[in-house]
Symmetry: C2
Subunit: 321 residues, 2 copies
C-alpha cells in the first residue's frame, strides 16, 4: 500500500481485522466526568486480550496482506514492546516466523510476553540509530520481510480502526485525544476523524521528555529526540515520513505532559476504571486533564492505548518520582 | 419476597435491572488458559462502572421493589465497602436518602466512593455484633428501611444475574467458581446454575482467615468467625440464614485459600487481564489455581467479583506479606 489510507482503505482494514480481534469496550464513569467536567468516553485499547494494546490492529492488517512467498520468508520488526507483543502473537497465529529487534532496556513484562507468544528477540542498544542498524543487519542475514511498527500505511490503516469503533459507539464526539510516539495511532485517528466525523477535533498527548512530535510540528520538519527521559516507554520513538505529514495536516495541537502528570493520570485511571493503564496509555488522559477547561461540558473520546505495566515499577508508587 | 428465588424470579430480576446497569464483559486470554490448563472465562464484575463490583445487581433489584412510602423513609444498610458503594449510588440515582453503617477500618477507597455517591456513613467498631447493634440503633432513630447486604432474597436474586450473564455468553461451562463471604453472590450463582445449567458444577473460594462458610458446611449449621485475618476484606462476614441453606444444598465444595495465594492470584490477574482485581475478587481465581488439576481441559467460568483496591496497599507489593 503506497498511498495515505483512504476512507475505503480504513473500512476494508476494519472488515479484514474485525473477524480476528474483539472489539474493545468503551468505558464511561461518573468520577472521570466529574474530574474533567465533561462527558468522558474511554476507548479501552489497554484491555485488548492477550496483547494489551491497540498495536494488534495494525499488525493484523499488515500481516494479512502478505503474499504466501513473503510469509515463508518470515517477518521482522523493531519495537520497545507493545508492537513487539502484537507482532509475535499475530505471526504465531498465522504460522509466520517472527523476529523482533528490541532495545536492551525494554519493559521486562513486554519482553516476557513476546517470548511467550513465540517471537524471537534480538537485542540492541537503546536509541533510533542502533535499532535501525540491527534491523538492517538481521534483514541481510535472514531475508525476512521488514514491517515498520508505525511508518507503514497498512499499519496506519489498522490503527485507524480504534477511533472508528469509538466514533461508532459514541457518535458526535467534539474532541478525541490520542497519544503520539511514532505517530501510527495518531495519524490513523486523524484520518478516521477526517473521513467519518470531520466535526471532531483531534488533539494529541506527548511526554515532555520525548517531545519530538511537538517540536516537529513547530519546525515544519521531523525533529529527532536527542535525549529521552520519560516513564512513557512506548512513546519515545520519533515520527516517520509517512505519519508526520498526516499529523501536520490534521492535528489540532499537541499537549506536552510531565511524567508526574502522567503518573497522576495513571493512578486516577487505575482507581476509577480499575484497569492497569500503562504510562504511555495514560498520556492522552493526562493531556485532557491539563486542558480540561477548554472542553467544559463537551463530549470527549480518550484512547487509552496500552496496559502493560511492570508491576514492580509502578510510577505513582515510586518514591523517586 | 419471602421465598428462595425461583427461576422466574431470577429472570424477572435480570429484566428489572438490565435497563439500569450495563452487562459486564467476559474476558478470555491465552495466558490464563496456559496457567490453568483449561479454558478460563472471567466474568468481569470488577469492571462494573462506577461501583466496581457485582453488588449493584442485588441493590438495584431490592431498591426497585420498594413502595413509594418506603422510599420516603429512606434506606439503611451495613457493609465493609462494595455493597456500601453500590447502595449509595443506586439510592442517589433513585432519589432515596441512604445511610450505611461501615466498620472504622473499612478500605478508604471504598469509603471515599460512598461519600462521593452521596451516601451517609455511620461508623462502627469492626465485627458482626457492633455492626448489627449500630444498624438497630440507627433504624430506631430514623425509621429507615433496613436492607441486608446479602441475607435478603431480593439481593440474592439480583446477584444471581452475574452467573446468568456468564452462562449466556459462555454456554456449557463445566464448572463455575465464585467467592463466598456472606453468601449472596454464591447462593445466587448456585441457583442460576441449578435452574439454567444443572450440569455446571459450582465451587466456592474462601479465605482461610475467614473460613466460616467452610466450617459451617462441615458442622451443618452457621458458624461465626471468632477471629478474622485476611487481606480479602470483602469476605469477612458470616453466612446468613437465607444464604446458608442454598449453599448447603447446591455447592459442590468450598476451597480455602491462604492470603499469599490470593495475592499471587491478584498479581497474575493484574498482569494478564490488566485489571485491578481486589483481594476478595481474586479469591475465586486463587481457588481455581489451587485445584486446577481437577479441571484439566475443562471449560471454566470464574467470577471476579470486585476491583476496589487501596493502591497504597497492594498486597503483592507489601513487604510484610
Amino acid at each position: 500500500m503506497n498511498h495515505v489510507p483512504t476512507k475505503q482503505d480504513i473500512i476494508e482494514a476494519h472488515e479484514r481485522i474485525s473477524t480476528h480481534i474483539p472489539r474493545t469496550p468503551v468505558f464511561h464513569c461518573e468520577a472521570l466526568d466529574r474530574a474533567v467536567r465533561g462527558s468522558v468516553h474511554c476507548k479501552m485499547e489497554c484491555l485488548m486480550p492477550d496483547v494489551g494494546s491497540f498495536k494488534i490492529r495494525g499488525v493484523m492488517n499488515a500481516l494479512l496482506s502478505l503474499t504466501p512467498e513473503e510469509r515463508r520468508r518470515g517477518v521482522l520488526t523493531q519495537s520497545s514492546g507493545n508492537h513487539a507483543q502484537a507482532f509475535a502473537l499475530v505471526a504465531k497465529r498465522m504460522g509466520i516466523p517472527a523476529t523482533i529487534v528490541m532495545p536492551k532496556n525494554a519493559n521486562p513484562t513486554k519482553k516476557r510476553n513476546v517470548l511467550e507468544f513465540g517471537g524471537k528477540i534480538v537485542e540492541c542498544e537503546p536509541g533510533d540509530a542502533p535499532r535501525e542498524q540491527m534491523v538492517r543487519d538481521v534483514q541481510s542475514a535472514t531475508g525476512a520481510v521488514v514491517i515498520h511498527p508505525f511508518n507503514d500505511y497498512r499499519i496506519i490503516a489498522g490503527q485507524a480502526t480504534a477511533a472508528k469503533e469509538l466514533l461508532e459507539d459514541v457518535p458526535d464526539l467534539q474532541v478525541m485525544v490520542a497519544p503520539v510516539g511514532g505517530g501510527g495511532l495518531l495519524s490513523g485517528t486523524l484520518l478516521t476523524a477526517h473521513y467519518f466525523s470531520p466535526q471532531t477535533k483531534v488533539i494529541a498527548g506527548e511526554p515532555v521528555g520525548a517531545d519530538d512530535a511537538y517540536r516537529s510540528l513547530q519546525a515544519g520538519s521531523i525533529q529527532p529526540n536527542l535525549t529521552v527521559n520519560t516513564i512513557a516507554d512506548g512513546l519515545i520513538t520519533k515520527l516517520g515520513d509517512k505519519t508526520f505529514p498526516i499529523i501536520q495536516q490534521y492535528v489540532d495541537h499537541i499537549v506536552r505532559v510531565e511524567d508526574a502528570e502522567i503518573a497522576a493520570a495513571m493512578r486516577e485511571l487505575w482507581e476509577r476504571l480499575r484497569v492497569t493503564v500503562e504510562p504511555s496509555g495514560a498520556v492522552s488522559y493526562a493531556a485532557l486533564l491539563k486542558e480540561k477547561s477548554s472542553y467544559y461540558r463537551q463530549k470527549i473520546g480518550v484512547i487509552l492505548s496500552g496496559g502493560n505495566v511492570d508491576l514492580d515499577r509502578i510510577p505513582f508508587l515510586q518514591r523517586s518520582l
